[in-house]
């Protein structure tokens, strides 16, 4: 009978290797890597350059990092895998992938690659390793872009809210602003906050980044994590309101071009940084208000 991964990994563990050696599994990993890299290139060209996918590179890097952190734990829980989940998984993933890649549906293509990736881990470590370390997989799932129209229809009302609050506040402060839907007119300028036909595209990325923070800081206390997760949507809305207000004020004081430059710059990293800052602030405030004494370790 062929080597089971468990036997191989345990044999290597005996040699004091901290990271499991992947050499034995080269064929599977190489095959998957070729497929994955092709899809990553497509993602980078089509999705990561748009607001709806700007979290892509960050999630890829931090997600893989999280996964590698868990390798030791996964190794400890390693079990021999069964064959039927692999077959079933491939029967699902391969048609999705082929259809998606051939006919330009990046969501389906990425989903296919994601499923095969999970199958690879399953083959290496078995089911328990995955079930006990779900978060890195859920987090990496954010690399699969949702179809644009889905995000648009779900978040269009949120974008309207952001526009309404931003313009309302500045109107109160006396600025000459008119709003029609999500199009904003200030002084002699017309502002399309984003492509007017989109919803709040940043919501996917902001959710991913916030989940990462909550997991890293508070994975031990899941009740508290749940509380912080409820803050994600309000934080996303507030962050966008701040962005739109800054955009309006920039347009008013510095003109159209400066504002457009700001718009593109903040579409990615800066927005995430502000949202993270807000969550960190909320986290710190709650902790300060409801300070619990540190758990005393029994001596």
């Amino acid at each position: 009978m062929a080597d089971t991964p468990e036997m191989t990994v345990d044999a290597l563990a005996g040699q004091g290797a901290r990271m499991p050696k992947f050499g034995v599994h080269w064929f599977m990993l190489a095959g998957f890597a070729v497929m994955a890299v092709a899809t990553i290139i497509t993602l980078a060209q089509q999705v990561w350059v748009m607001e709806i996918g700007s979290h892509g590179p960050i999630v890829l890097a931090t997600g893989l990092w999280l996964l590698f952190q868990q390798l030791g734990d996964m190794k400890a829980r390693a079990m021999p895998p069964a064959t039927w989940p692999v077959v079933l998984g491939l029967l699902l993933a391969v048609p999705l992938y082929i259809f998606g890649r051939a006919y330009d549906f990046i969501s389906l293509e990425a989903l296919g690659v994601f499923i095969v990736g999970v199958l690879c881990v399953y083959t290496l470590y078995g089911p328990r390793a995955i079930l006990h370390n779900l978060f890195p997989f859920v987090y990496l799932g954010f690399l699969v872009p949702p179809p644009g129209w889905m995000i648009t229809s779900a978040t269009m009302p949120l974008q309207e809210l952001v526009s309404a609050v931003s313009t309302g506040t500045l109107q109160l402060a006396g600025y000459p602003i008119i709003r029609e839907g999500v199009t904003i007119y200030i002084a002699q300028y017309q502002l399309l906050v984003e492509d007017a036909c989109s919803g709040m595209n940043s919501i996917v990325g902001l959710t991913a980044i916030s989940l990462f923070y909550i997991y890293v800081m508070h994975q031990a206390s899941w009740r508290y994590s749940l509380l912080l997760m409820c803050m994600i949507l309000p934080v996303a809305i507030i962050t966008n309101i701040m962005r739109v207000m800054t955009l309006i004020l920039l347009t008013y004081y510095a003109g159209d071009e400066v504002a457009q430059g700001f718009l593109h710059m903040t579409a990615g990293i800066l927005l995430f940084a502000v949202a993270l800052g807000l969550i960190f602030l909320i986290d710190a405030i709650i902790q300060r208000l409801f300070a619990r004494p540190a758990p005393v370790t029994a001596t």
């Binding site: 062929a2 095959g31 497929m35 064959t83 082929i98 890649r101 051939a102 029609e180 457009q260």
Partner: protein, 235 residues
């Protein structure tokens, strides 16, 4: 010895990539793109003439959605002096259409810019030689401004009426091995306070538009089949 499961996954991955690349459409059907729209569409179309003789310049915003989707756009106001009617025409043309970057339909964007759609229906616009173009007719209202709009969309050789029809036509074209181009033709007129709707002048303008295009170039807006039918009829 490589485990069976691993062999399966590795082989399936490589094979899937190969099959996907083989199936991917590579032949581009571009019915347009070589002649700029502003040269294609004459300034005189039957009884209509272009206001100020030329195009309304719409500023090009780098990196905007319109910039990404469309390689050529035309906006003009045509006036019919005799009955003092004015019709605005917007034509947008885009090269390779795919799921992420495809023509946007007016009704998907109007609510976002503060318009409400108060009427919406499908119709068939006769263009001569027994041919019809499937069009969408809608009325959009923003405050006191009521605009009657008639538009159609061409994707490769199809004229889909809805967004989902557009998507399935794109897919069908891809499965046949082609990457198609697309064009959106939209004509509209604003109602005057007193009068009724403006669909009659808008429809008649569109008919004059199709009739007034050079015979070889009609396919850019209406597809090869209808374009050829009109050519044969005229011959």
């Amino acid at each position: 010895m490589i485990a069976r499961r691993e062999l399966l996954i590795g082989a399936a991955s490589l094979a899937a990539l190969g099959v996907a690349e083989a199936l991917r459409p590579r032949t581009v059907i571009a019915l347009g793109g070589d002649v700029p729209l502003s040269d294609l569409v004459p300034s005189r179309l039957g009884i209509w003439s272009a206001h100020n003789g030329g195009d309304i310049i719409v500023p090009k915003v780098e990196g905007s959605l319109a910039d990404k989707l469309y390689s050529d756009q035309l906006t003009r106001l045509y006036i019919n002096d005799e009955v003092s009617e004015a019709v605005m025409i917007v034509i947008a043309y885009g090269g390779a259409q795919n799921d992420m970057l495809q023509l946007h339909r007016p009704e998907s964007c109007y609510p976002a810019i503060g318009f409400t759609i108060i009427d919406h229906r499908f119709a068939a616009l006769p263009i001569g030689a027994g041919q019809h173009i499937p069009v969408v007719e809608l009325t959009a209202k923003a405050g006191d401004r009521i605009e009657d709009i008639v538009y159609w969309a061409r994707v490769a050789e199809d004229l889909p009426l809805t967004m989902s029809a557009q998507r399935s036509d794109l897919l069908k074209t891809a499965m046949q091995g082609f990457i198609g181009d697309g064009a959106l033709v939209r004509a509209s007129a604003i109602r005057r306070g007193d009068g009724g709707d403006k669909f009659a002048p808008v429809r008649s303008f569109l008919q004059d538009l199709v009739a007034g295009l050079p015979a070889d170039q009609r396919k850019v807006l209406i597809g090869t089949q209808r374009g050829d039918a009109l050519k044969t009829a005229a011959a």
